[in-house]
């Protein structure tokens, strides 16, 4: 199995250049129930952010596979795994916050 390091770099560039977290944050701040477009923006940014977390998991898996085969760069693998780990933790926090907020809103409605 050959690992194309060019492809791996591409995965990282996409994720890092996208600045997804900043856009998600801004979309969250400006979202407004009376402005459907802003809600759509938020939804799409959320979707993209989840997609990026997934990309990092895949990149980490690719690196781990390379090392499992005896090829592969050890420090790149370690970095990829850490990025995937941190991204997942961040995603979990955001998800928990969203769930909590939703529950608060539902309680308000009563």
């Amino acid at each position: 199995m050959t690992i194309d390091s060019g492809q791996l770099d591409l995965q990282y560039d996409e994720v890092e250049r996208s600045g997804g977290l900043d856009r998600l944050d801004r979309a969250g701040q400006t979202a407004n129930a009376s402005d459907p477009a802003s809600l759509d923006r938020f939804k799409s940014e959320l979707g993209k952010a989840i997609g990026e977390v997934d990309k990092l998991q895949v990149a980490a898996d690719t690196q781990a596979d390379a090392v499992a085969h005896g090829a592969g760069n050890l420090h790149e693998m370690a970095l990829a795994l850490e990025k995937a780990d941190v991204a997942m933790r961040l995603a979990m926090r955001i998800r928990n916050k969203l769930v909590d907020t939703y529950n608060d809103i539902m309680k308000m409605g009563m």
Binding site: M1, Q57, A60, D61, Q63, A64, D65, V67, A68, H69, G70, A71, L74, M77, A78, L81, E82, A84, D85, M88, R89, M92, R93, R95, N96
Partner: protein, 141 residues
């Protein structure tokens, strides 16, 4: 629902193979002074390829009859049966008075490399399982 994917299975198998290689290299060192002894080694890349090939669909992570993690070689928890491994004789590097062709220094280097790769695979498996554990405990663990 399959929680543990193909990458984790590959890492587990790589750990097994590395341990077998450690045994083989230790045997070479123990016999560095035994007359007529030919050193052996495990062809790591070929072994990993062979294992994934024999697992068939298992290589992609789908379940196969051999085990729950898709890598068919050996039942889970029993490692790799040593009979299946390509343990090859190392070609002799030079002349030898008593027929022993163990190269002490090369063997030490191979052992160091093997241990390092083992540590890398183990660390990767640990991090992957850590991510799963974190998610499974709802962000609390």
């Amino acid at each position: 629902m399959r929680v543990f994917d193909g990458t984790l299975a590959r890492l587990e198998r790589s750990l097994d193979v590395r341990l077998v290689r450690q045994n083989v290299l230790a045997a070479n060192l123990a016999n560095v002074d035994t007359p007529g002894f030919r050193p052996k080694d495990v062809d790591f890349a070929a072994t990993m390829t062979a294992i994934e090939g024999s697992a068939g669909h298992g290589a992609e992570g789908t379940p196969s009859p051999g085990g729950t993690d898709g890598m068919g070689a050996g039942a889970p928890g029993q490692g790799i049966p040593a009979d299946d491994l390509p343990i090859v004789d190392v070609p002799a590097g030079g002349a030898s008075l008593d027929g022993n062709t163990v190269d002490l220094d090369r063997t030490m280097v191979a052992m160091a490399e093997n241990a390092l790769q083992y540590a890398a695979s183990a660390r990767a498996a640990g991090v992957k399982l850590g991510i799963l554990r974190y998610v499974a405990s709802d962000g609390n663990g």
